[in-house]
């Protein structure tokens, strides 16, 4: 029974649960708890999948006198489990290597063409009319980049809000969370892993950085900065494919501005989501551990 239950859990946590969670907009009002919940759902999916495989192996191979059929099942289950682990590791390696290479190249070029801000080397200004602001995350060599085009359309307090937002990303290492979810998404075929998790997590880290920026610069300044920069970019977006559901494009931006309007802390909701996050992780763990404990009993 245990392997089947774990397999069902793995499928649920990989597909339907993220799909439902992504359709509950109120979850985003407690971004920290929501992010924790997303991470624990993802971890639970992996845990349950590996647990299902291992449970199948021990179930068939640890009998008194395993017959050939039981052995075959055990070996296949072990093979599949190892394959899943290998895919995860390979995907994490690929994603990590490629991100580091892109960032290194970008930083090398940025550093020679840009000017440092007055406050030191981390903030860089580039001579370009397209209004953009972004950061380059990573160990050693984080940068916050603002184009002259962006400086031109932002007032000083709006620019402060943008810089605070980017600093929050770098400080909290949001890139690591996104990297993990990217690796997870790319490890499995489309029909197993949905885009919902990565998309939602992307939005949540933006909401988190927005909240930090609001504390430092005020929500009006941040809201105006978001709209100013989005407006400056609109002509290009019209040419390219309009990504409406994304964290940084149209739909996500609107969600972010709407969330700015509603900054009330929601302690009960946060506590409930955190408890749910713990439960989600405990469930598959219990399914794996309990049968082993009972098997150990004399």
């Amino acid at each position: 029974m245990t392997p089947l239950l774990l397999a069902v859990l793995a499928v649920l946590f990989a597909g339907p649960v993220p799909a439902v969670l992504a359709r509950l907009p109120w979850v985003r009002r407690t971004p920290v708890a929501a992010l924790v919940l997303w991470q624990s759902v993802a971890a639970a999916a992996v845990l349950a999948a590996l647990g299902a495989g291992l449970a199948l192996v021990t179930h068939h191979a640890w009998r008194r006198a395993p017959d050939p059929v039981a052995w075959t099942v055990a070996v296949i289950a072990l093979g599949v489990t190892l394959l899943v682990v290998a895919r995860l590791l390979l995907s994490a390696h690929r994603v990590g290597t490629s991100l580091r290479a892109i960032r290194r190249r970008h930083r090398a070029q940025l550093d020679v063409i840009s000017r440092a801000g007055r406050t030191g080397g981390r903030i860089r200004f580039i001579e370009h009319e397209v209004p953009v602001a972004y950061c380059i995350p990573g160990f050693g060599g984080q940068r916050i980049v603002v184009s002259e085009g962006a400086r031109g359309v932002l007032t000083p307090d709006e620019l402060d809000a943008v810089l605070e937002h980017e600093r929050a990303h770098l400080r909290a290492r949001h890139d690591l969370v996104l990297e993990a979810f990217s690796a997870l998404r790319e490890a499995f075929p489309r029909w197993v892993s949905s885009d919902a998790a990565l998309r939602e997590v992307r939005l949540l880290v933006e909401v988190l950085a927005d909240r930090v920026a609001v504390r430092a610069a005020g929500r009006q300044a941040l809201g105006r900065a978001l709209v100013q920069l989005a407006e400056g970019r609109a002509p290009e977006a019209a040419l390219g494919a309009g990504g409406n559901d994304t964290a940084l494009g149209g739909g996500g931006l609107l969600t972010r501005v709407e969330l700015l309007a509603d900054p009330r802390p929601r302690r009960v909701q946060a506590a409930l989501l955190s408890a749910l996050a713990v439960g989600v992780l405990v469930l598959p763990t219990a399914f794996v551990v309990v049968p082993w404990l009972t098997a150990l009993r004399p």
């Binding site: 892109i102 953009v132 809201g223 940084l248 709407e258």
Partner: protein, 127 residues
């Protein structure tokens, strides 16, 4: 003030500026760049050589052999290299479904999106 130990980033920028200052298609040797930099700071020839070698490995300058020395030229003008970087950046922002190397403040928004944003912002200002 003679800078004896400027940071490597400043040095890279100074070398690039020397290379950007020469006419299109021309190139400089390490000796020539060193001569220019040495007017403003106390700097060893070998340091300049190391920096220029690093820039070549990062593909920011082209290195070509000329007899016994190497000649260097920038990959493009400053404006071209800035435009290149910006194109890469915007492409990176547009690839929503992939892994993201850079974290944009905002990405694409259509004209309708901006309308909706303005309306939401108006509510925010009124609140």
């Amino acid at each position: 003030m003679a800078k004896t130990r400027g940071n490597i980033g400043d040095l890279e920028r100074s070398v690039m500026e020397a290379l950007w200052a020469i006419p299109d298609g021309a190139s400089l040797t390490v000796r020539e760049v060193h001569a220019q930099l040495a007017e403003e700071r106390d700097i060893a020839y070998t340091t300049v050589m190391t920096v220029m070698d690093r820039l070549a490995r990062k593909e920011l300058v082209h290195q070509e052999r000329d007899g016994r020395a190497y000649r260097y030229r920038a990959r493009g003008t400053r404006g071209e290299m800035t435009a290149d970087l910006m194109r890469d950046t915007l492409e990176e922002f547009a690839s929503h479904d992939r892994r993201t190397a850079l974290a944009a403040f905002v990405s694409d928004a259509s004209a309708e999106d901006v309308e909706a944003l303005r309306a939401a912002l108006a509510k925010l200002d009124g609140a």
